[in-house]
């Protein structure tokens, strides 16, 4: 075995691969099952964007909180939410992470620091400010990260949150997942200030751009951003440029894409393929170890689907529970 050239130990390299692969297979399976009409509501898939979510979340602990988006499955898995609970939630079953009442866009697991996917664009940013303020007041080293897309970046909530985070020096990190399209509108058209980093500058916080398809680039950049926040350095913005393999939602005809764009992305810009090639080429990990993970992941996903399908729907009496919080 060669000496490990990477900034993660071998176990962590394998864990990162497992998380990315779990996200990919989870989404690929949903793509198929949604097409069959098995799943209620809408799903927005994270396939292709795994390196960003996992590269960031590898630095986080359970007391670090994240606020996700409508495209939240990847963030959930990367943050440690159980795929079987998630699958049941997406199927609307009572065994789901939120007892089947939330569905794809409202998966949450506070025990893992996952404050929720969110059906409202830009709504995660104020939540992250709240969590960051809590960490600051409680005096622990927790950070809060909000993810949003290039479309949601134009929401007032995001800009107000950046202002608040800056003036209170919160340990909040604003991650722009820029996959080039706000639903179907190209960023070229819809983002007037041209650069997300320029927006950070406007609030007096540093902003950087990183290749979101390169796990190690994200991992290293996120590490510095998170370290800065933990040490009291305040908020910052991290723009990850990434690739979305599927449409905005399942069923999106994607007429806004160039011919062959999806095929080219899958062939040449697949972040998991690139990660796998790097760790195998280094001689630290061999293909057999990764193939074994692939097989285990397939079993996890199949088990999750079976669990979801065989679980009961919420009953009528569940309609009146979880409506109000008792303190």
């Amino acid at each position: 075995m060669s000496e490990n050239p990477f900034p993660l130990e071998k176990d962590a390299l394998l864990a990162a691969y497992r998380r990315m692969k779990t996200i990919r297979e989870f989404e690929e399976r949903l793509h198929v099952d949604f097409g069959r009409g098995e799943i209620p509501g809408f799903v927005h898939l994270y396939a292709g964007e795994e390196a960003a979510g996992v590269g960031i979340m590898m630095h986080l602990k359970d007391h670090d909180r994240i606020a996700s988006t409508h495209r939240g499955h990847g963030h959930c898995i990367a943050k440690g939410v159980d795929p079987a609970d998630m699958m049941a939630e997406i199927y609307g079953k009572s065994t789901g992470s939120c007892a089947g009442k939330g569905g794809s866009m409202h998966i949450a697991d506070l025990s893992k620091g996952m404050m929720g996917a969110n059906g409202i664009l830009g709504a995660g940013a104020p939540l992250a400010c709240g969590a960051a303020l809590a960490a600051q007041k409680l005096g622990h080293d927790g950070v809060a990260i909000t993810f949003f897309g290039d479309g949601a970046s134009n929401q007032g909530t995001v800009l107000e949150s950046m202002n608040l985070a800056a003036i209170w020096n919160l340990p909040a990190i604003f991650v722009v997942e820029n996959n080039g399209y706000a639903e179907s509108t190209s960023v070229d058209y819809a983002v007037a200030s041209d650069s997300y980093v320029d927006r950070a500058t406007g609030f007096g916080m540093p902003g950087i751009t990183v290749d979101g398809t390169d796990f190690f680039a994200v991992y290293e950049a996120a590490g510095e951003v998170i370290r800065r926040a933990r040490e009291g350095g305040g908020p910052s913005l991290l723009e990850c440029k990434m690739i979305r393999f599927f449409g905005h939602f399942e069923g999106d005809a994607q007429t806004y894409r160039a011919p062959g764009e999806n095929e080219d992305n899958r062939a040449h810009r697949d972040c998991i393929k690139m990660y796998r090639a790097k760790i195998v080429d280094s001689g630290v990990i061999d293909n057999d170890e990764l193939d074994a993970i692939d097989a285990e992941v397939m079993t996890v996903i199949e088990d999750a689907v079976q669990h979801a399908m065989s679980s009961p729907m919420p009953g009528l009496s569940d309609l009146t529970t979880d409506v109000y919080v008792s303190y």
Binding site: E3, S193, D194, D198, V210, Y219, A221, K241
Partner: protein
């Protein structure tokens, strides 16, 4: 030949050095404004055509908005602006492709907005076309800090031959790095670091610094070349380079505090300093690591790779802005109106 190329890549100066050091961010609208000021300078001395790299980061939108407004207001202070027909990838590769196309188009010079990294990419592809850097990057050891209007004037005077080539252009050194016959270049510095992955590219962890090769190092320089600038300075013209073997600080008593990035002054351990001779291949001081070209990790290597670093003199041309403007002043190139009378008066003044 009066066509000039401009490369302003919005992805430059966006990297992690805004977090690990205090590097600034030049907003897109300011970058567009710099292009506008360049255009006024170029136009004022007779450049009629400017070819610009396309991008979708917003510079073009801002520039076109400004040019439309100026045209509506009756201004004729701008040359014709056209954009290259190329696919935009939103990466540094756009700068390389634009440089290739501008070379084929036969522009007289290429003006580059960026720092050491962007200039490196352009020089790697532009052949014998002279470049003129406008410092908008993270580290600006190569491009000099100057008002872009003046750079526009000087480049215009150079490409229209109002300043003769022997005054307008100067030759520069570069470092060639070959790994298993694959060649790359650096304009200012090649740093060898112990980290064996590329990751977020920038280098700032001094404990991993092992070897440094520079074409020049000025005492007032920024970035890795400042180490040489403070130890054993070397100017841009002298036909030699410098090599500094770097050590973790605990392994040597020879330390120097150097500004290795904007707002980041670090103590670096020094092993030895030697002169680099042109045309001689040098091996890196460690068997495995990565190579940072002008401040960014680009290539990893290990014992199985054949790595050589060499200095080339007279390797590429730049527009010498101070020399162009000095020539223009001495020869009255910018004089207008009662030119003869003014020049006579100037001479009389000098003769006094």
């Amino acid at each position: 030949m009066s066509k000039v190329g401009i490369i302003a890549n919005p992805v430059s100066a966006r990297d992690i050095r805004r977090i690990v050091s205090h590097a600034g961010n030049l907003p897109i609208n300011d970058r567009a404004n710099i292009v506008l000021r360049l255009l006024t300078g170029l136009s004022a001395v007779g450049v009629e055509d400017v070819l610009v790299m396309p991008e979708n980061g917003g510079i073009r939108h801002h520039l076109m908005r400004s040019l439309d407004r100026e045209t509506r207001m009756g201004s004729s202070r701008f040359p014709g602006v056209s954009y290259l027909d190329m696919k935009v990838t939103c990466t540094a590769e756009d700068s390389a492709e634009a440089a290739r196309q501008m070379r084929e188009e036969g522009v007289g010079a290429i003006v580059v907005l960026g720092g050491d990294g962007t200039n490196r990419v352009v020089v790697s592809q532009c052949g014998d076309i002279p470049v003129a850097g406008v410092s908008t990057g993270t580290n600006n050891a190569f491009p000099e800090v100057r008002e872009p209007t003046i750079t526009g004037l000087a480049v215009g005077l150079a490409v229209t031959a109002q300043v003769p080539p022997e005054h307008a252009f100067c030759l520069n050194k570069l470092l060639e790095v070959t790994i298993n016959q694959v060649r790359d270049i650096a304009l200012v510095d090649v740093a060898v670091v112990a980290e064996r992955f590329v990751g977020a590219r920038a280098i700032w962890k001094t404990e991993s610094f092992r070897d440094l090769f520079v074409t020049y190092g000025l005492p007032e320089g920024i970035g890795m070349s400042s180490i040489v600038g403070l130890l054993a300075p070397l100017d841009r013209a002298t036909p030699e380079g410098r090599r500094v073997c770097l050590r973790p600080v605990e392994q040597t008593d020879w330390h120097i505090a150097a500004p290795i990035a904007p707002g980041l002054i670090k103590v670096v351990g020094i092993g030895s300093v030697e002169t680099l001779k042109a045309g001689v291949p040098y091996k890196p001081g460690i068997g495995a690591g990565s190579i940072a070209l002008d401040g960014e990790r680009e290539i990893t290597f290990d014992d199985s790779d054949d790595v050589a670093i060499g200095l080339r003199t007279d390797a590429f041309r730049t527009v010498s802005v101070p020399d162009c403007m000095t020539y223009a002043a001495q020869h009255g190139v910018m004089n207008r109106g009662a030119r003869h009378a003014f020049r006579s008066a100037q001479k009389e003044e000098i003769l006094k």
